[in-house]
C-alpha cells in the first residue's frame, strides 16, 4: 500500500527536494526559519540548508515580495511565505503590478521564478483578516499562475512544479488541509498546471470545487449517490491556467453545474467559471448554474459563527437538487 502523509508533510517534502535540487532556491518569510513556519510547513529547512537560504524576515510584506522579485530577476529562485494569504493585500502592488508584469512590461527579457506560499481559509476563529481566501483577486491579474491544491499528493506535485516554473506562482494552501492525510508516492513527480482532476465521475451534475471544498463536495456527492443522483466532481487545481476542456467536457455530459468555493460569492472564483460557461456552453445547460460560496460579509471571529461562512455538505446537496428540479 502506498504511504499516507499529511499535506503539511507533502509540502515540506517538496520544499526539501527542490532546495536540494537547486542551490539557488531560497525560502523566507515571517517565522519560516527557526521555528519552521507558524503552520510548520518549512520545518527542518533552516537546519538542513542554513540561515542564508532559509530565514526569518522582518514583518514587512511589501519588502518580502519586492525582494523576491529582485532575487528572481538576478538568478535566484525565491520561495516566500505570506504568513496568512490575507497579507497579500499588503503586498498587492508588488504581486499584481510587479511580479505579474515585470517580465512583460520589460519586453519579455526576464524570467520571474517566484513562488509565494499562501495559507488561506477559515480555521479556528482567526477573524476577518486571517481567514480569507483571496485567490479571486489574482485570477483578474495578468502574468501570474494561481494554484490551489486540495490534497497532499497534488500539493506536492504542484509545489514542485511551481518552484521550477520560470513564472510567478501564487500557491494557495488551505489551513484546514495541512493535517489531512493522503497517499503520496515516494518517487519524484510533478503535476503540470492547467490539468484539472476529475475526483469522481458522474452523469447528472458537475461540481467544480477547490481546496477544502473538494472534500466537502465529495462528501455531498457520496450522499447524493444514495438518492440516485450521480455527481461528477472536478478540482481544477489551478485557476490560472484553467482547464476549461475538462470542465466543459463534463458539463456537456451532465448539463448542470454547481460551483463551490469558500471565498465570497460576489466576484469570487466561481464568477469567471460561470461566465465562461454562459459564454461557451449555454445551450448545453439544462439548469441554471449554481454557486455555493462564502457570504459577502467579512468573516466574524466568533468561532460559533464560522460555520455560517463555509459551504456545507447540506448547502451543496441542496444546490445540486435545485439544478435537478
Amino acid at each position: 500500500m502506498m504511504r499516507k502523509i499529511t499535506m503539511r508533510e507533502a509540502l515540506n517534502e517538496a520544499l526539501f527536494e527542490e532546495m536540494e535540487r537547486n542551490k539557488n532556491t531560497l525560502c523566507f518569510g515571517e517565522d519560516v526559519g527557526y521555528i519552521g513556519g507558524i503552520f510548520g510547513v518549512t520545518r527542518g529547512l533552516q537546519e538542513k540548508f542554513g540561515k542564508e537560504r532559509v530565514w526569518d524576515t522582518p514583518i514587512a510584506e511589501c519588502t518580502i515580495v519586492g525582494a523576491a522579485l529582485g532575487m528572481a530577476i538576478t538568478g535566484l529562485v525565491p520561495i516566500a511565505e505570506m504568513q496568512f494569504a490575507d497579507f497579500m493585500a499588503v503586498a498587492f502592488d508588488e504581486v499584481h503590478n510587479k511580479l505579474g508584469k515585470w517580465r512583460y512590461m520589460h519586453g519579455g527579457k526576464f524570467e520571474v521564478p517566484v513562488t509565494l506560499r499562501l495559507p488561506i481559509g477559515i480555521s479556528g476563529g482567526a477573524g476577518p483578516e486571517h481567514s480569507q481566501s483571496p485567490q479571486a483577486l489574482f485570477v483578474h491579474s495578468q502574468g501570474l499562475y494561481v494554484v490551489i491544491p486540495s490534497n497532499p499528493r497534488d500539493a506536492k506535485g504542484l509545489l514542485k512544479q511551481a518552484i521550477r516554473d520560470p513564472n510567478p506562482v501564487l500557491f494557495f494552501e488551505h489551513k484546514k488541509l495541512y493535517e489531512v492525510k493522503g497517499e503520496v508516492e515516494e518517487e519524484e513527480f510533478l503535476i503540470p498546471f492547467g490539468k484539472a482532476a476529475v475526483k469522481k465521475q458522474g452523469t447528472d451534475v458537475t461540481i467544480v470545487a477547490t481546496a477544502l471544498q473538494v472534500t466537502t463536495a465529495l462528501e455531498a456527492a457520496e450522499l447524493l449517490e444514495k438518492d440516485n443522483i450521480s455527481v461528477e466532481v472536478i478540482d481544477p487545481r489551478t485557476l490560472v491556467p484553467l482547464d476549461t476542456d475538462t470542465i466543459f467536457e463534463s458539463i456537456k455530459k451532465t448539463g448542470r453545474l454547481v460551483i463551490v468555493h469558500e471565498d465570497p460569492k460576489r466576484g469570487g472564483t466561481g464568477a469567471e467559471i460561470a461566465a465562461l460557461v454562459a459564454e461557451e456552453l449555454l445551450f448545453d445547460l439544462e439548469a441554471p448554474i449554481k454557486r455555493v460560496a462564502g457570504p459577502d460579509v467579512p468573516i466574524a471571529q466568533n468561532i460559533h459563527l464560522e460555520k455560517y461562512y463555509v459551504p456545507s455538505v447540506e448547502d451543496i446537496i441542496e444546490a445540486v437538487k435545485e439544478t435537478l428540479d
Partner: protein
C-alpha cells in the same frame, strides 16, 4: 521622584489597573483552557505597566488604537471587562455585538477605543488621520497608538511618522518592545546602530522620542505625562512623540504557542526580578504609602470585579446566523 510626591489615588489606581490587566488575562487563559473561548489570544502578561502608565494621563475623550497584545491597553483606557470577556466568549453582549474577538477588534467609541487592524502596524497610519482630525477640529484630544517592535518594521511606520511629524499632530506612538516578534528576535528584525533603539528612528523626522523601562509604571507615567501635555497644546513646537517601552512577555506569542524559541531562564529572570506588579507593590509597601491591608483589600476588589464580569459575560447568549449579515453598511 519619591513616591510621597505622588497623589495617593493615582498610585493606587496604577496598581489597580495593572492588577486588573493581569487578573483579566489569567482568567481569560483559564476560560481558554476550559474550552469556553475559541480563537487566538496574545497574552500581555509582563507588559501591564506600559498601558497603565500611559493611560493614567488620558481621558475618555482621547483616542486609542491598541495592538494584538492589547487587552492591557483597552483595560487601562476603561473598556468594559464584561464586554471584552463576552467578545472572547462569542456572546452578543460583547463590544462587537456578537462578532467575537480573538486577534483584535474590541471597541468602545465612548472611551475613545477605536479598534485595531488585523494587519498589525496599520495604526501608524490610522492614527495620523485621527491626529489630523483632532488638529482640524481644534480640540485638545490626543491619539495614542500602541504597536509592537515587530510591527514597527512594517513599511507603514515611515508613512505614518512622516505625516505625524510633517503636520505636527497630537499623536503618541507607543512601542511595546518585548524583544520578540513571534519567534523573531528584535535584533534580527531591525537594522540599528550598535546599542541603538527603535526610538532613534524618530530623530530624523524631528519627532521627540524616549526609551523607557516598560516594567516601571512610574517611569512610563512620567514620560507619557509630558508627551500627552505637549500633544494637547497646539502651541507646542512638537506635539507628536514616539515612546519605546522595553519589556518582555511571559508567555508564548499566542496561547498554544509552545515558544521553544524562548529561553526559559530569561523568562524566569524577568518574572522573578522585573515583574511590573511585584516590584511596584513592593515599592508601595516599602515607601510606607500603603500597607498590606490596603493592597489586599484592593486585590480582593479586583478579583470580585473580574468574577462579576465573567459571570455577566457568560450569561449573554451566543448569536445566530443572522448576526453575520448585520452592520456591514451604515
Amino acid at each position: 521622584m519619591a513616591l510621597s510626591k505622588y497623589d495617593k489615588d493615582l498610585l493606587l489606581d496604577l496598581y489597580r489597573t495593572m492588577l486588573t490587566s493581569r487578573r483579566f488575562d489569567q482568567e481569560l487563559i483559564r476560560l481558554l483552557h476550559d474550552g469556553k473561548v475559541g480563537g487566538f489570544h496574545h497574552s500581555g502578561q509582563g507588559h501591564e505597566a506600559i498601558a497603565a502608565g500611559i493611560c493614567a494621563s488620558l481621558e475618555d475623550k482621547d483616542y486609542l488604537f491598541y495592538h494584538h497584545r492589547g487587552c492591557n491597553q483597552q483595560i487601562s483606557k476603561g473598556i468594559s471587562l464584561e464586554g471584552i470577556y463576552a467578545d472572547f466568549l462569542g456572546r452578543v453582549d460583547g463590544t462587537t455585538g456578537g462578532l467575537g474577538s480573538g486577534i483584535v477588534h474590541h471597541v468602545d467609541p465612548d472611551k475613545g477605543i477605536l479598534g485595531q487592524s488585523g494587519t498589525i502596524g496599520e495604526s501608524y497610519i490610522l492614527a495620523a488621520g485621527v491626529g489630523y482630525s483632532i488638529k482640524y477640529r481644534g480640540t485638545d484630544q490626543v491619539c495614542v497608538a500602541f504597536n509592537g517592535d515587530g510591527a514597527t518594521a512594517r513599511e507603514v511606520f515611515h508613512g505614518g511618522i512622516n505625516w505625524v511629524g510633517l503636520y505636527n499632530l497630537p499623536v503618541i506612538y507607543v512601542i511595546e518592545n518585548n524583544l520578540l516578534a513571534s519567534s523573531l528576535h528584535f535584533q534580527n528584525s531591525h537594522s540599528l546602530k550598535e546599542g541603538g533603539s527603535l526610538a532613534d528612528r524618530a530623530d530624523s523626522y524631528d519627532v521627540p522620542s524616549f526609551v523607557v523601562d516598560g516594567n516601571d509604571v512610574l517611569a512610563v507615567y512620567e514620560v507619557a505625562k509630558e508627551a500627552i501635555a505637549r500633544a494637547r497644546n497646539p502651541k507646542e513646537r512638537r506635539r507628536c512623540t514616539l515612546i519605546e517601552a522595553m519589556t518582555y512577555r511571559y508567555r508564548g506569542h499566542f496561547e498554544g504557542d509552545s515558544a521553544e524559541y524562548m529561553d526559559k531562564d530569561v523568562i524566569e529572570e524577568w518574572r522573578e526580578n522585573r515583574d511590573p506588579l511585584d516590584n511596584y507593590r513592593k515599592k508601595l509597601l516599602d515607601s510606607g504609602t500603603f500597607n498590606e491591608k490596603d493592597l489586599t483589600k484592593l486585590e480582593k476588589e479586583v478579583d470580585d470585579t473580574i468574577k462579576n464580569a465573567i459571570a455577566k459575560a457568560e450569561a449573554s447568549p451566543i448569536p445566530g446566523r443572522d448576526r453575520i449579515f448585520e452592520g456591514l453598511y451604515a
